[in-house]
Assembly symmetry: C2
Homo-oligomer: 464 residues x 2
């Protein structure tokens, strides 16, 4: 028995030219239905950010390598770029690499274009970043982030911190995460305690405290004691980590003789976020969130979805007063948050918290059952439907009608137009609803209108 | 005289940490107003492509290096990636590089995901590509392309070529280029002439003929004669390059005793594109467009804007029957076109053929002139306007009102809300139209509605 034609063709294929295709670990891509669902989610976030007066910025994927490493990039995770042949002889061509986040490129952008920007700059940015991390479950090497930041020149009122919290809460609600809990902390609260204890700053303790969420408060306090942190300070930190209200925080600070600056700022931020529409119960005091060692200078934010705590934080950020200091002489304080949309979408799909719809935007398929005779009519029907604003696919392969209907079903196209001699003689077409199987005879002049009715669920009920 | 504080700070800056920021040649980025204009243009293209039933796909920026070079990538223009530290010990980690176009990744995508895709696949893809070309005027090294392709499995009716022409014509019209001229050619016309002359194929002549647009027909014919192309064939090619109608092409083929297959296909494609809504006069026969040497197998398309011919083709593509052949055993014939949006936008801006609007989506700025007393009212006004669907910015810096109005003017925000003790005592606000300077007293309850009226030009006339 001869091999199947396909098999044979495959075996005869020139091996020199045959290149392996397969996924590269850490570089995900989506099939059409999932891509459309992700695009819809992105669009909801974007609409929310524009509603709150944020404007889009995009930066090149590539930055000078020294710009990336100056701002805390983990050098061993950065993908450098080889020089193309045309640059090999050019000693002045800069070393370039792929960005690992959107915050550093934005800091560079702000310093570079300062004279042409209006401050405070409210920008959103949705682009991909690259990190050569060890491949793990849920860890991607190429992924998109959706960031907002408000960046001032010289100074930035901390009411902007409240704006960022309120806006991110709205964006999360828009994508079905109205239940997300926003954990807030403020660097100056911990700094006040360490200063009252006669220490220089809190930097040394932050990495330890950051473990509280995973290792537990007891383990963290034991660690601090081992690090010879004075016993009264360890006690204060223990009380702080247990605080659930701002009043309790005030009590801890007062007992330690520490400044209330940080808790005043945090209170003002939280109150303003409430007035801006953020439900108070969605904000949770959590002094265990530290987010890195020396990057943030005030508010720190992480966000968790109840029932999905092991996802970790889905939206994180805070206030950074010195980010652009490596690039210029001026101060550009900023506050912002970032949603890791590639990872979040992946988690939402697995948790069935996002709807995966059709593999095409088309809501109508114009079939071509008697193509040789009526091709012009079919092309014209598609043109009419598109002109009326209906996303329309035209079936142009030479196939039996049942194959054409199968295509509509598999792509998830709800309506099909079927017309042959009988229908076209009456200047009409068959309009079939694939969802209930009902086929109606519709005059061509009324077709766009009838399609609109069938797509509007309210009208469908009336018609049924 | 001491230096200014800024100067002083700059001079005292730690030189080790100071990193140069500046543009990297060939890697463009846009200021907010331009970015918004580009986004609006992209959105018009995307809407058109969805209207015609194309679905989005995105692929990683990164492909295996052998995938890119197998499909005709110019190796010396490809940006390779260095391995991150975590992969250095892994001999099996593939060499990876940045894509140079969107067609090769799509061919790889189709072969890899064949079992989960519906064919013909109509996909659009708007992403960036990277080419290490020598920097020239208007040449970018990182730029976005917006592609559509229809890809069949096993076969693809050439009516899809007509669809692609019609859809691209609509997309260009949507971005203000309804005057663009679509130059069409078909590979089989030239092949028929060479076969009739007893030669193997037309590949050797295509590079020469491709120069006709720049060097002129006479120079091309002289070149062909020098290449010892038979004299009757040179004559036929000369007549073909002068053809302006399909009838003339038929005459040339007939006189040469050549097959009319190619001109039949081209005629069918053009006629169908007309029925699909493409004005006949926008399509121009042009057998000088060759587009590379062996990539396209049928229809070839380039697009020029009258009065801007030196821009070159702004949208190009054609039919390729063998693109995926390196990646698998099956045939995946395709047809598609690509708009180089980064370059096109740059040209449109310079030619003032695109409107550059405000630097923010915000249509209202809520000012905070008596912030210490009425902050809660201001925050609440912003919340109300946003809830009503108005893109609203809130001024949160502590500045005099005149600075706040200057911010609105500079960002291009048309309306500002000004409220102090007097207005708020009446549960009203001042709503100032920055375009004509008129300020109205508006009850807070009516604010969202009045904003909507002022933003709708028709209503503005009635109100004036």
């Amino acid at each position: 028995m001869p091999p199947s034609p396909d098999k044979s063709a495959h075996e005869q294929h020139d091996e020199r030219r045959h290149v392996k295709v397969g996924p590269i670990s850490g570089f995900p891509e989506l099939l059409p239905a999932h891509q459309r669902a992700l695009d819809a989610l992105i669009e909801k976030i974007r609409t929310t950010y524009e509603r709150c007066g944020f404007t889009p910025i995009e930066t090149p994927a590539v930055e000078r390598a020294d710009v990336l490493t100056a701002k805390g990039g983990v050098q061993r995770q950065i993908y450098g770029l080889t020089r193309p042949a045309v640059d090999r002889a050019d000693a002045d061509a800069p070393e370039i690499a792929l960005r690992f986040d959107l915050t550093v490129p934005t800091a560079r952008f702000v310093v570079q274009h300062e004279a042409q920007l209006q401050f405070p700059l409210r920008r959103y940015q949705h682009q991909r970043v690259w990190r050569g991390e060890r491949a793990q479950r849920g860890r991607f090497r190429e992924f998109a982030q959706f960031d907002i930041d408000i960046i001032g020149r010289g100074g930035l009122d901390d009411l902007h911190d409240a704006e960022v919290i309120a806006v991110m809460a709205q964006a999360l609600a828009a994508i079905g995460l109205a239940d997300a809990r926003i954990h807030v902390s403020h660097r100056r609260v911990l700094t006040a305690l360490t200063e009252a204890a006669g220490l220089d700053g809190a930097d040394g303790m932050l990495a330890t405290i950051d473990r509280a969420g995973r290792a537990g408060v007891e383990a963290v306090l034991a660690d601090l004691a081992r690090q010879e942190v004075p016993e009264p300070l360890v006690t204060s930190v223990g009380r702080l980590l247990a605080c659930t209200t701002l009043e309790e925080v005030r009590g801890v600070l007062e007992d330690a003789g520490a400044s209330a600056d940080g808790v005043d700022a945090l209170q003002r931020i939280v109150e303003s976020a409430v007035v801006l529409g953020t439900p108070r119960e969605r904000m949770v005091l959590d002094f265990s969130i530290a987010r890195g060692l020396d990057y943030y200078t005030g508010l720190v934010v992480e966000t968790f979805v109840p029932g999905h705590e092991r996802w970790g934080s889905i939206c994180s950020g805070g206030r950074y007063d010195n980010l652009a200091s490596h690039f210029g002489s001026r101060t550009f304080p900023g506050v912002g948050v970032s949603i890791g949309v590639t990872r979040l979408f992946d988690l939402l799909v697995k948790a069935r918290r996002v709807e995966i719809g059709a593999a095409t935007p088309a809501v109508v398929l114009v079939c071509t059952p008697e193509r040789d005779r009526y091709l012009t009519s079919y092309l014209d029907l598609a043109r009419r439907l598109r002109a009326a604003g209906h996303d329309t696919e035209l079936f142009l392969q030479r196939r039996p009608l049942r194959d054409q209907l199968t295509t509509a079903a598999r792509k998830g196209i709800p309506l099909v137009v079927i017309a042959g001699e009988r229908e076209l003689a009456e200047e009409a077409v068959g309009l079939k609803d694939m969802r209930d199987g009902v086929q109606r005879l519709v005059p061509i002049d009324e077709l766009p209108e009838r399609v609109a009715e069938l797509l509007d669920p309210a009208s469908v009920e009336v018609a049924a």
